[in-house]
């Protein structure tokens, strides 16, 4: 019943309009290399302050869905993924376009994206309510160990070394600590500055990490250009059903992979598409064709990266933990609209949750239609000169950071964290763990302190309470496995060649 009511609400004029605006702008921005869904969402959050909460969340969710698919356009036509999640699509999308079939490449990608999104939407509707009910059993130790597990997971699975992932997550935790501590009202780590009394607010930090660091990188790499392929006038993007029958098993398998990887807290779409691509290649009858313009490669990558978006909504809605770094922005937007994601969300804001879940499926259908009818036109705009984009994007950053609190300090925070994010990225520290660490630091500390009060200072409940023990064991297993993998990789490195220096 709630699903039907939510469907009726989502298809009414205003909510549907916001979904459409979100998806269309997400596709456009996602198609431009150097921008991305995270940037667009972070810049849009301040604009949603005066909006209805449900419409605001639908708009941002639509942007997320659109941007994941928009990356397909530049990945296929420019060999430059518009978003990191489209990286695997370049392996087969661009070669297929080079063979004179850009329309087919886009058609396969768009169709796979639709199926991936809808399948993960079905999982979302089926799993979120029972998982939310299960999460009612969580106490402080369960929350603490789950956040610990999330941080270890994202540090070990993110690209780059485990050590750098852990450091990035720890820095994110530290960045959340200055200011007033909510557990006891104690001011800390202000270093004598009055402005630091509120600490570093969520929106300026997200704008700095997602937006400012990216535009500095775009300026540094301003000479980087893709080798463009143009689409012929008669080329259609609308997928044909006969072409799809043979890919049905690959779509379902890749969508399931994308959804389940998305459920793991902190893991993003780029990992999903990598795993799905690898498995599709392993089980393919023609593995050697992967990387040369093979249908199966495009289908696997695009199904998985879109399915990841739906899977990542599951931990966000049910436990209040972002399933992917970009979902941290959605979490931030909900908190700013006085909505607390977590096990009680179905009871306190049931209408919003059902609208979000149904809206997600509707957004994927809207994405499909927008892509089919406008991808060729969007492709023409992909090469916008960075010299125009960079200053305009910064102005939006300033407005977004200033609008929330009317403090210039927050704008300086954007610039500061932009530099932090830029240098961490140059030194190959992954930024995903930083964002997740920052967002979850408050919960982690609060739940640990509550837990220790209940256990009179003992840490034993981490291993004596069954659910907490499970999370602790998973964290330790992932940590151990990642250390083993890195040690084995270094052992197998070839001896260094002698060089003329």
């Amino acid at each position: 019943m709630e699903a039907l009511e939510a469907l009726q609400h989502v298809l009414s004029p205003y909510p549907f309009l916001w979904i459409f605006v979100g998806v269309a702008s997400g596709i456009f921005v996602g198609a431009i290399p150097g921008l991305g869904g995270g940037m667009l969402m972070a810049l849009t959050v301040p604009l949603t302050f005066s909006m209805d909460s449900t419409n605001a969340v639908l708009l941002l969710m639509g942007m997320h869905v659109g941007s994941v698919s928009g990356g397909l356009i530049s990945a296929t036509l420019l060999k430059m993924p518009g978003t990191p999640s489209a990286m695997m699509t370049t392996f087969d999308g661009y070669p297929m376009a080079q063979q004179g079939k850009p329309g087919k490449a886009l058609s396969l990608g768009v169709g796979a994206s639709l199926f991936g999104g809808v399948i993960s939407g079905i999982f979302l509707i089926a799993l979120a309510p029972p998982l939310s009910h299960f999460a009612h059993k969580f106490g402080p130790w369960e929350y603490f160990t789950m956040v610990l597990m999330a941080l270890v997971l994202i540090a070990s699975i993110s690209q780059g070394s485990l050590l750098k992932g852990l450091m990035s997550a720890t820095l994110g935790l530290l960045a959340a600590m200055p200011g007033l501590n909510e557990s006891d009202g104690q001011l800390r780590l202000t270093f004598g500055f009055d402005s630091m009394g509120d600490g570093f607010n969520l929106l300026p930090v997200l704008l700095g990490i997602f937006v400012m660091s990216q535009i500095i990188k775009d300026a540094l790499e301003i000479n980087k250009k893709g080798v463009g392929i143009k689409m012929g006038k008669g080329e259609e993007i609308f997928p044909k059903f006969n072409e799809w029958k043979q890919h049905l098993f690959n779509i379902i398998r890749s969508s399931c992979i994308g959804t389940w990887v998305g459920i793991l807290p902190g893991i993003g779409a780029s990992i999903s598409s990598m795993v799905a691509y690898g498995i599709a290649k392993t089980f393919s009858k023609t593995p050697r064709k992967f990387g040369t313009g093979h249908d199966e490669g495009i289908v696997a990558a695009e199904s998985a990266n879109n399915a990841n978006a739906g899977g990542a909504l599951i931990p966000l809605i049910t436990i209040g933990i972002p399933g992917a770094p970009v979902d941290a922005i959605l979490l931030g937007a909900m908190i700013m609209h006085q909505i607390q994601p977590g096990p009680l969300l179905f009871q306190t804001n049931g209408d919003l949750v059902w609208s979000l879940m149904i809206g997600y499926i509707v957004a994927n259908i809207v994405m499909f239609l927008v892509m089919v009818f406008s991808a060729r036109h969007i492709a023409k705009a992909v090469n916008i000169n960075r010299a125009y984009l960079i200053p305009i994007v910064f102005v939006f950053c300033l407005i977004g950071a200033y609008a929330a609190t009317n403090r210039m300090f927050d704008v300086w925070v954007v610039i500061g964290f932009g530099l932090v994010g830029f240098f961490l990225d140059r030194a190959r520290f992954p930024l995903g763990p930083f964002v997740i660490g920052y967002v979850l630091a408050g919960i982690m500390e609060a739940e640990l302190r509550s837990g220790l009060q209940m256990s009179e200072g003992s840490f034993l409940p981490m291993i004596t309470r069954p659910i907490a023990a499970t999370f602790t064991i998973v964290a330790l297993v992932f940590l151990g496995y990642s250390i083993f993998q890195e040690w084995r990789a270094r052992r197998n490195l070839p001896p260094p060649e002698s060089t003329a220096e």
Partner: protein
Amino acid sequence: MSRNYRILYLDITISLILIGLATAVLLAAKEIPPPFFDPIGSAAFPKYTAYLIIFLALVIGVRSILLSRLLAPESKRGFKLEPLLATYTVGVPALYVFSMNLGWASFRIATTLFIFALAALLSRFDKRVLIVSAIIAPVFGFGGQYLFTEVFYMDLPQ
């Protein structure tokens, strides 16, 4: 082919900076009052986070030095990096924010000048970009002021 020492130097520099930052955090955490209601208090989390940062920074720095012989050659990018333009992308926005912070210029004027100046610098004073940005800049400066204050009801620096 030369080895990629850039990553090594970056790792060591960042490790040293992070050790310095963590030390500052430990010193600041000493001033937090001891716990009253719960076993660990407000100082524990920052302290143990700082200890973890120092430990990880030492491991990263030492590991980078010990494994420097295994560094891979620097991969060819196929395009030239522009560190000067990246510096402009930090410096010019900082000047823009500074000017409004000190009340030297309103949002409208500062934004118009900022967009034009940064676009000109990033394009290396390309004539076409100069003409287009001369049109875009006041649109965003003056139009943006109207849009965000009158339509979205957001406050802007005045």
